[in-house]
């Protein structure tokens, strides 16, 4: 510092050199730029990705299950008050009337309001507990075509009460409740 008693002259306003340190502003700009780049990249990546997971198949599975469940319920609903349901009559014959099941079930699940039919296939059986013996038996009712193992099938079931007049699921002809089970898939 210049003090006049020491001989230096004050020749004018002496300005102290001011250095502006703008290095810190780069951090802000860099931060914003980096943030924008990351966000844009993530958005592009996510939008381009469409991973078909098990969660996406549940819609078509649900539609098929609903259709199969409706068809079995309708087949187990008698046409008139004192009639037997078609499903009961089919199971209540020895052997089960697969031809009738094939005709009726395919007509129900493949029928559409517009032109043309759907292409849904099935395989159906019923399961019962033997009397006497108390073991589980499964009997084929019918199928539209054999399953090859590659089909993505859904399972629908219906409990059906039968009143057989012949030895049924064992050696007795007592009334029985069996589980009708149908696997259905779309070609």
């Amino acid at each position: 510092m210049c003090f006049p008693e020491k001989g230096c002259k004050k020749t004018g306003t002496r300005r102290r050199a001011v250095q502006e340190n703008t290095a810190g502003q780069l951090y802000t700009i860099e931060g914003i730029a980096a943030g924008l780049i990351m966000i844009m990249t993530a958005y592009l990546v996510v939008n381009a990705t469409s991973v078909y997971t098990a969660g996406d198949t549940h819609i078509s599975d649900m539609q098929l299950e609903q259709l199969g469940s409706d068809a079995l319920n309708i087949m187990d609903t008698p046409e008139t008050m004192n009639a037997q349901s078609e499903l009961r009559m089919i199971i209540n014959t020895s052997p089960p009337d697969g031809g009738a099941f094939n005709t009726i079930f395919l007509n129900l699940i493949n029928g559409k309001a517009g032109t043309g039919n759907d292409h849904i296939q099935y395989t159906a059986n019923y399961t019962c507990r033997t009397d006497p013996g108390d073991s589980i038996e499964s009997h084929l009712i019918s199928y539209s075509r054999p399953m090859t193992g590659g089909e993505h099938a859904v399972r629908v079931t219906k409990w059906v009460t039968v009143k057989p007049s012949f030895p049924f699921c064992g050696t007795t002809n007592t009334n029985r409740t069996v589980l009708a089970e149908v696997l259905i898939w779309r070609d």
Binding site: A42, S50, Q63, Q66, A113, D118
Partner: protein, 549 residues
Amino acid sequence: MTDDYGTLSIDFLVGFTIFLLAFIWVISMIPGLLIGLQSYTIDYDAVAYRTGVILAEDPGWPVSPAWEAYGDPQKFDVIRFGLALSKDTPNILSQDKVNRFFSVSTTDPSVGFIYPDDYHQRAIFGDFPYSFKISLSDLTNFKVQSVGERLPDDYGYIRRVVKIKEMSYATIDNVYDTNHSYIKSGNGSASSTHVFSLLINNTKLLGEVTDPAYQIDPSREQITINITELKNLTPADVNLANVKIYKLDSGIYSNVPLPASNNPYVNGSNVRLPSSWPATAAKNVDNVTLKFNPQFIDSMKAQNSNIFIVLKFDLKDSVTGLPYSGTFLNNTQALDNLGVMNYDNLDGQKTFGNNPNSTPFDYNYNPDNVTQPKLRDGVLEVAVWSGETGIDNTSTSMGSSSTLFSDNFDAADAPAGWTVTGIADRFSGTPHDGAASIRLRDTPSDISRTISTVGYSGISFSFNMGSKINHAGRYIQAQWSSDGGISWNTVKQINNGDPEDDNDLHPFSYSLPASAGENANFRVRFIINAINPGDKAYVDNVVVGGIAD
């Protein structure tokens, strides 16, 4: 000099903060990479499923009076469409609701509900302007009804299998008419006035059958009564002078005015008698059809009551126009409170209460009296998407079904043209329809026939069949084959002890799979596995139909 090298600048802090926030946000998006983002198609399927459930499983709201009874002035009280008969009978649809739902107009509310606004508010819901198409296919009658627009390439969809409940009806034909024709309608003197009454016993109807799918409930579905062949009973002109309604509730008879909206139909007209009737009698009547709307019955609040429908016929000489005294359909002694024959001042208690001369026709669950409600198969489809595609004005029929083959076995040489095994003879005893049926009996027997379906699809197979089988394990089957008889598909089997094993004919109708059409080897067969004398089966009115390609 101040040394600020160790101090983080504010700029650095701001920039680093922005970087961290963006980094955290990107990291939080990583789990989303594992989810297929197809929200719009899932949404359409979900909306279609919801609408399908509402239509197939819900009766709509309000229930009483039912929404289908609401005309345009009251339609804002309709909260929700639903086609189910009741909430206890999902997938069983009411014919009345179906008819009302598919009465559509874009401009005229007197024709039906307005498309699309009325449907969007009451079936689709939500604020998003979805486009939709709702269709119902009657698999038995080959009829399709739809409301909505043309389907685009991609849409949300659900299909439901349903039953449609047919309405019950009674046909009073010439046989009944003849057996209930009397010379008088009153107290012994010859009369040109004849009174015929019918009874709807709601207590019995609602008490004997409680399942809505098979119940006859006049307050929920229309009932129809046809009185036919009246001219066969008399050479005179028959005039329908009046119809009165009486309600018996807690022992008290009361007259219920018949509104013009429930006036009868006569002579096959599809228009009810005008409001000027009965001031001006309906003349020269051969048949009368009574159709009572459920809303009218419901308004009577007669769930625990009897309803008497009392018709007055006047006979006039066809030449002179003077009253003609003779026998005519007549089952009621219409008395006034003094016990004198007087239809115009009819007293319910005197007429129906313990009066042996009044025997109303009972609309009940006796199949000899009333054709019972029957369920037929149908398919309900709902499609939902966004964007307009134009209203679908295609025909509401899948195409007329032509009769490819029919045989009523009335011909003297029946069953000529059929291949016969065992015993199958033309039978004019009971049961038969027309002149004769075919009877299979006593030993394993069948009749079969090849019917070419080339040029046709949508094959239907209808017939009347019944049996009287006295031995367990014996049955009759109706079958069809797509390979000329190598393998058979059974559509109907009647076993010993089944309801149809009653020595009577019962109608059956089936739509067959695609393999039955376009098939020169299509074959039908009726077969009985009887081995004992006395086991019999009957077949009549065989019809094979198809839709020409």
